[in-house]
């Protein structure tokens, strides 16, 4: 079970990070969403995985750790606010800059060396 769980977390991380490294805004938003799933699951699991437990007093013999749950609950809501902010920012950037590149401009050929333009002596 534990191995399966961490495999899923790793998979979400992998997918999230790969998308975060894309050059357009929308895939990055998707990547951030996936990454926040991974982060939430990761944090949640710090209370260990427990079946049939409860964080409610009096309905079960075995209690789970309520603290990570409380933290993750707010993290989910804040995560939503962050995703919303980023996606609106992406829209605004497209409106103002006319493209949806994360850098706000056509990327220079990625593998070409970039010549210094600033800080000349």
């Amino acid at each position: 079970m534990e191995a399966l769980y961490v495999f899923c977390v790793g998979m979400l991380t992998f997918c999230g990070i790969f998308l975060c490294l894309r050059g357009r805004t929308f895939p990055v938003v998707l990547g951030l969403t996936l990454l926040s799933y991974a982060v939430n699951l990761f944090l949640f699991s710090s209370g260990r995985l427990q079946l049939d437990g409860a964080a409610i007093l009096g309905i079960s013999d075995s209690y789970t750790d309520p603290l990570p749950q409380a933290l993750v609950l707010t993290a989910i809501v804040i995560g939503f606010a962050m995703i919303a902010f980023v996606v609106i920012l992406a829209m605004r950037a497209r409106a103002d800059l006319g493209n949806d590149f994360v850098d706000g401009r056509e990327p220079p050929d990625a593998d070409q060396a970039i010549k210094p333009t600033r800080g000349k002596v």
Binding site: M1, F7, M11, F26, L51, I76, A81, V87, R94, A110
Partner: protein, 929 residues
């Protein structure tokens, strides 16, 4: 009066010239002299106490928690330096009054000078390593200001920059060295450090600390190969040169060597490094000085040479050498200050410093000439002058050296060679300037300077003579006290008399004088020989090196910070990987001791679905709509996962957020391109796959390592106190609204701020609205399907009811403000989707910004309410009431707090989504709204 008054007085003195400048130049100089004069008087009153062998220390707790104290120490060495700094400083102020022209900003000059004096004095009085270093850095900065005083001149700026760079870099090395020493000793207190010499010398880090401290001292004292900055610092006004290169600045390095002598000296490494550096500097300086045609250039290299001499003395393995070093510090300060002042007078009154033009000035300024000649003779080491005495001691000590083994005989020979050149350049200073024909083509007709400009020189030259003739009477006790603090109280036998009989040192002096005469007589041959070498300009080399460094730094910076988010993220991730991978490698096994739980088919199915849909999101991410759908599948399974592992609150929250997120992204997608072009090069894709896979692997490993290990949690406290302390059985909710209520208050505030920020971003957005989808199909005419409208409308009361139920029971069962808020939001958004903004607008007249504000306000006021009862912020209250027909109910202040949470969540969610939805309608938000 406390010792602390001395630096404080000087610090106040920094502002005096700026204030008194308006009263005229003489008044300004007079008032400026007050602070150093007072400080000197204060030092003088303490002199008898220090001369009797006492060390006065005073300290003031500054930040005791980290062991920082302001601490001052006045011992023999410190008082000798303090007197030189203040005494010569006073003379310099008087001299500068006549040297500076009307055009120069005198107040600013004096302010810099006093600032420098304060810093210098703080170095010598410091009883704490860090404090010493701070003062050290202030001398670097204030000397930069002084050297670059004539900032309109390019060479001033370059010289100042070079001095700052070299001494500043040395200062950093010194800091590292001092930190190591403090780490070895366990204290920054100088007294403690000085008492732990053996501990430091035997420590494994001793060589590193020594080299770093020496780097600091050698750069400051212009020792070879860092000597090159000193000649360029001659671009400063002459009073500055006279001060910086006689009693201060360059002497700071020497002071440091002398100060740390009881701690760092006494090892092979010290003797070899210090003595060889000193010897090289002595010879180089003396040789080059002879070829300088600029008066100040000659004095600059002679300063380098004499600093080398002192360093060499400190690097010798005899106690007497240290005494000689201390003696020469004093003598050099006195004669070199007077020589610089004389050079300044000559420059001032004749308009030139070029010795090829300056000749025969004796006829024009005989009085100044006499003074300069006496001082120069002292520099050459002529008997009856102070320079002779210390030079004689120096020669005597070179004879006792064994540091170079069988090659030790070279030291006295080379010392004599240095002496020969020293005599030769002193001779040149006298003969070439005051005799040797008539002046050639100089701008002014030379004449004697104003009366008071000569006074400082007169005083110093008189001192040269007095010390030279009556050494023990003049400075015997001071020398004894100063040397005693360098040698930690173990003073050797020595005699300060002028005549020691016919001996080897006297012979060496004799050889030096005769040799100097010969060298000077045949100087034209030497000049011809020297002219074969191309002269290297240290300034050009230095500027070149600095520019190369800047170019490389710029290139590196441009490579890292090229404005591409992708590069930043990739670099950050790679760095994180490196940082996390190394501790993971030290971990023997990822698996811990906890027994693993079994897996059933449902869980495997869910995991497979999760992985497939996550991968599908990646693979299909260029078709954005499809990717969004697969993403929502991931979200749903995450929500199920929470439910499976006993977290119903999380499952509910995730479910509601998932709905809102997907609606939001869909709305956003309307304004963004529907597809992503394939732009990444294969190389880039492989790189990103690599980084992502490595990160995923590392995260999974860490996670596995965590969840297979047992742990101690603070959650027992929450479980135990939830009901009794917070009045609720849903511990998660009680933590949110009670135990960690302050966190939650912060979180809803952040949520509100994010929503307002989004509103602001939307308000000025100018977006082109596509009239058709990317395949050219127009949007559906049937904007609000009737069935959807009817069903959602009838569902609304039910949804609100559920929301209210979830809210109310949240304290005891899964639910609470966050979840209820999200459910309400979803229900209202459903209405927007089904009916459109036009229909909603007249029906829901709630201002969402107002909702957010009132939510945060309610939560904050609930918290503040506990103040009324004299309890800390956010203390909760609850009690049980028996109400007829309904039965016992519980009322808790936490529910008010939760109401605040609820309102904020509803407000924030709807502010974001409704405004985004309104973008296409006539209700689009504007700035005024």
């Amino acid at each position: 009066m406390s010792l602390f008054w001395i630096p404080v007085l000087l610090l106040i003195g920094v502002f005096v010239p700026l204030i008194t400048e308006r009263f005229g130049r003489t008044a300004c100089a007079f008032f400026t002299m007050l602070a150093p004069a007072l400080a000197l008087t204060q030092i003088a009153t303490l002199l008898p106490e220090v001369l009797s062998g006492q060390t006065i220390t005073e300290s003031l707790a500054w930040i005791p928690a980290v062991g920082l104290t302001l601490s001052l120490r006045l011992d023999g060495l410190a008082i000798m330096f303090a007197m030189l700094i203040l005494g010569i400083g006073l003379l310099i102020i008087l001299y500068a009054r006549y040297y500076l022209s009307d055009k120069d900003a005198m107040g600013r000059f004096y302010a810099y000078l006093i600032l420098f004096m304060t810093a210098m004095l703080s170095i010598v009085l410091s009883n704490n390593l860090l404090q010493l270093w701070m003062a050290w850095e202030v001398t670097s900065i204030s000397s930069f200001l002084l050297i670059g005083f004539w900032s309109s001149k390019s060479e001033s700026r370059k010289g100042a920059r070079m001095a700052l760079t070299v001494t500043g870099a040395g200062g950093l090395a010194l800091l590292a060295g001092l930190l190591i020493i403090a780490d070895i000793v366990g204290s920054y207190d100088l007294g403690t450090v000085l008492a732990s010499g053996n501990m430091i010398r035997e420590h494994a880090m001793y060589p590193v600390a020594l080299i770093l401290v020496l780097l600091g001292a050698f750069t400051k004292s212009a020792q070879f190969p860092f000597h090159f900055w000193l000649p360029h610092a001659m671009a400063a006004p002459t009073p500055v040169s006279a001060y910086l290169h006689s009693a201060t600045m360059v002497k700071a390095g020497i002071f440091l060597l002398a100060r740390m002598y009881p701690v760092l000296a006494g090892t092979e490494l010290w003797f070899l490094t210090v003595s060889l550096t000193g010897l090289a500097t002595l010879l180089l300086g003396a040789y080059v000085a002879l070829f300088k045609h600029d008066l100040k250039g000659l004095l600059a290299y002679s300063t380098i040479s004499h600093l080398g001499l002192i360093t060499l003395l400190l690097g010798m393995d005899t106690k007497l050498a240290a005494v000689a070093a201390v003696f020469h510090i004093m003598n050099h300060a006195i004669f070199k200050a007077s020589l610089f002042m004389a050079a300044g007078i000559i420059d001032h009154e004749s308009g030139s410093r070029d010795m090829r033009k300056l000749n025969g000035l004796w006829r024009y300024m005989p009085y100044t000439a006499t003074l300069a000649m006496v001082a120069a003779a002292s520099m050459a080491g002529i008997p009856l002058l102070n320079g002779f005495l210390s030079k004689e001691m120096f020669f005597a000590e070179t004879l006792h050296q064994v540091a170079l083994g069988s090659l030790s005989w070279m030291i006295p020979v080379l010392a004599t060679l240095g002496g020969i050149f020293s005599v030769a350049y002193s001779l040149r200073f006298i003969h070439d300037v005051f005799f040797n024909g008539e002046p050639i083509d100089i701008p002014k007709t030379p004449h004697e300077p104003p009366r008071y400009m000569k006074i400082p020189v007169e005083i110093l030259v008189t001192l040269c003579l007095l010390v030279g003739i009556f050494p023990s009477f003049m400075i015997g006790s001071l020398l004894q006290a100063a040397s005693s603090s360098v040698l930690d109280g173990q003073l050797p036998e020595y005699s300060l008399s002028i005549w020691h009989g016919f001996n080897l040192p006297l012979l060496m002096s004799f050889i030096a004088m005769t040799g100097g005469l010969l060298v000077y007589a045949y100087r034209s041959r030497l000049y011809r020989f020297q002219s074969q070498f191309r002269e290297t300009d240290a300034k050009l080399i230095f500027e070149g090196a600095v520019q190369a460094l800047v170019r490389q730094a710029t290139a590196l910076h441009e490579w890292m910070a090229n404005g591409s988010l992708q590069r930043y993220v990739a670099l950050l991730l790679v760095l994180t990987l490196i940082m996390t991978a190394s501790p993971l490698m030290e971990l023997n096994s990822a698996a811990g001791h906890l027994p693993l739980q079994d897996v059933n088919g449902i869980e495997i199915t869910a995991a497979i679905l999760l992985c497939i849909s996550a991968l599908a999101t990646v693979i299909l991410h260029r078709q954005r709509m499809v990717a969004l759908i697969t993403l929502s599948v991931v979200g749903l399974i995450v929500s199920i996962t929470f439910a499976r592992f006993s977290a119903p609150d999380l499952a509910l929250t995730q479910l509601a957020v998932e709905v809102v997120t997907v609606i939001l992204l869909m709305l956003a997608l309307f304004f963004l391109p529907q597809k992503t072009k394939n732009e990444s090069s294969p190389r880039r894709v492989v790189r990103d796959l690599g980084i992502a896979a490595a990160c995923g692997g590392v995260i999974a490993t860490i996670n596995y390592a965590i969840i297979t290990r047992p742990f101690e949690s603070i959650s027992e406290f929450f479980l135990a106190n939830s009901k009794t302390g917070g009045g609720g059985t849903n511990v998660v909710n009680v933590i949110l609204v009670d135990f960690r209520g302050f966190d939650t208050l912060g979180e809803i505030t952040v949520l509100g701020i994010a929503a307002l920020g989004i509103f602001k971003l939307i308000a000025r957005m100018r977006l082109a609205m596509p009239s058709a989808d990317e395949k050219g199909r127009p949007w559906s005419e049937d904007r609000h399907p009737l069935i959807l409208a009817m069903i959602s409308q009838s569902l609304l009361p039910l949804a609100l009811l559920v929301s209210a139920y979830i809210f109310l029971r949240g304290h005891n069962m899964p639910g609470g403000g966050f979840i209820a808020g999200l459910i309400t939001s979803v229900a209202l958004i459903q209405q927007y989707i089904a009916h459109g903004v036009d229909w909603i607008k007249p029906r829901i007249k709630v201002d969402y910004q107002w909702l957010i504000a009132s939510g945060v306000l309610i939560a904050a006021l609930t918290g503040a309410g506990s103040w009324l009862f004299g309890k800390p912020f956010l203390t909760s209250w609850f009690d049980y009431f028996d109400i007829p027909w309904i039965g016992e109910i519980e009322l808790a202040s936490a529910i008010l707090f939760d109401l605040g949470v609820y309102l904020t969540v509803v407000g924030a969610t709807l502010l974001i989504l409704a405004n985004l939805g309104k973008l296409t309608t006539r209700y689009r938000p504007t700035v005024e709204e």
